[in-house]
Symmetry: C2
Subunit: 140 residues, 2 copies
DNA sequence: GCATTTTACATGTATCTACATATATTGTCA
DNA sequence: TGACAATATATGTAGATACATGTAAAATGC
């Protein structure tokens, strides 16, 4: 059985490992990781987002976003558009990307429902909110 | 600014990235990551633990524990003891490992205090508890 | 007793992660 | 205008992570 830890960081890592496995398994039939699906969702919400936009929104390192985008680009789920600035890359979903998003949505929804069934929808919401408050305070 | 996400998994990952950076930075002077320090702490609590004991306690994959132990073993902070069973490895802190733990403890404590100062000690505790409840429900 | 299964740990491979740094482009200002 | 700073992204390297699989040793069952 997992141990209760005094460390805030270790406790969050513990829970994040467990929940990530859950979502990764849920997305497995699509050949996508949870992280990759999250990026597809973000690009649906924020069309033509740049690497830095996504990095800031998700509190991810710019280099991590860069590499993960490369993976879903290689899978032809997104494509790069030129920005006004020749430095920047604007990313958009391809038709295949939108299809994956449609196919993945019920899988993602059932993972969400599963979490709610395990700890209760209100608990789940409170946990999510508390995690986000911490993110806001810590993200530079 | 970081976005509030509907996904429980993405929200936890977001917060975990942020807090992990905080603890990793805190442990930097010791040339240790937060994860490595957590393993030292666990081996202090559970002397002669086996790989699988640690994996279960932390809800980590056995292979991840195996590799991380190899790192702190190479740094001579822990050493392998023979178990009764020739398959198993029992891990114990070395003198250098205990020293690192002593040196790291104030750094870890101040990271803990910093989290509390950011979101409040009660909020921090509730977040930790909620994370642990989720871990318990999800850990296979 | 020996074949089969189970247990304990390690290794191959791939993704996620971040820090340090590189590269290319744009902005600034003397 | 030309040097220097700032911005946007990518690459080198290394740790954290997990799944699939390998290896060795112990347990089980006939």
């Amino acid at each position: 059985m997992a141990l209760k830890l005094p460390c805030y960081c270790a406790s969050l890592r513990q829970a994040t490992r467990a929940i990530s496995q859950e979502y990764d398994r849920a997305m497995r039939p699509l050949n996508l990781t949870g992280t990759q699906f999250t990026l597809l969702r973000m690009l649906n919400e924020l069309p033509s987002a740049r690497v830095n936009d996504l990095a800031e929104a998700l509190a991810m390192d710019q280099t991590t976003v860069s590499r993960t985008l490369a993976l879903i680009k290689d899978a032809k789920l997104i494509e790069r558009q030129a920005g006004e600035d020749r430095r920047e890359a604007r990313w958009v979903l391809t038709a295949a990307g939108r299809k994956k998003l449609r196919e993945g949505s019920p899988l993602w929804e059932s993972a969400q429902r599963r979490v709610e069934s395990l700890i209760g929808a209100d608990q789940a919401e409170r946990l999510k909110d508390a995690a986000f408050r911490l993110t806001q305070k810590l993200a530079r």
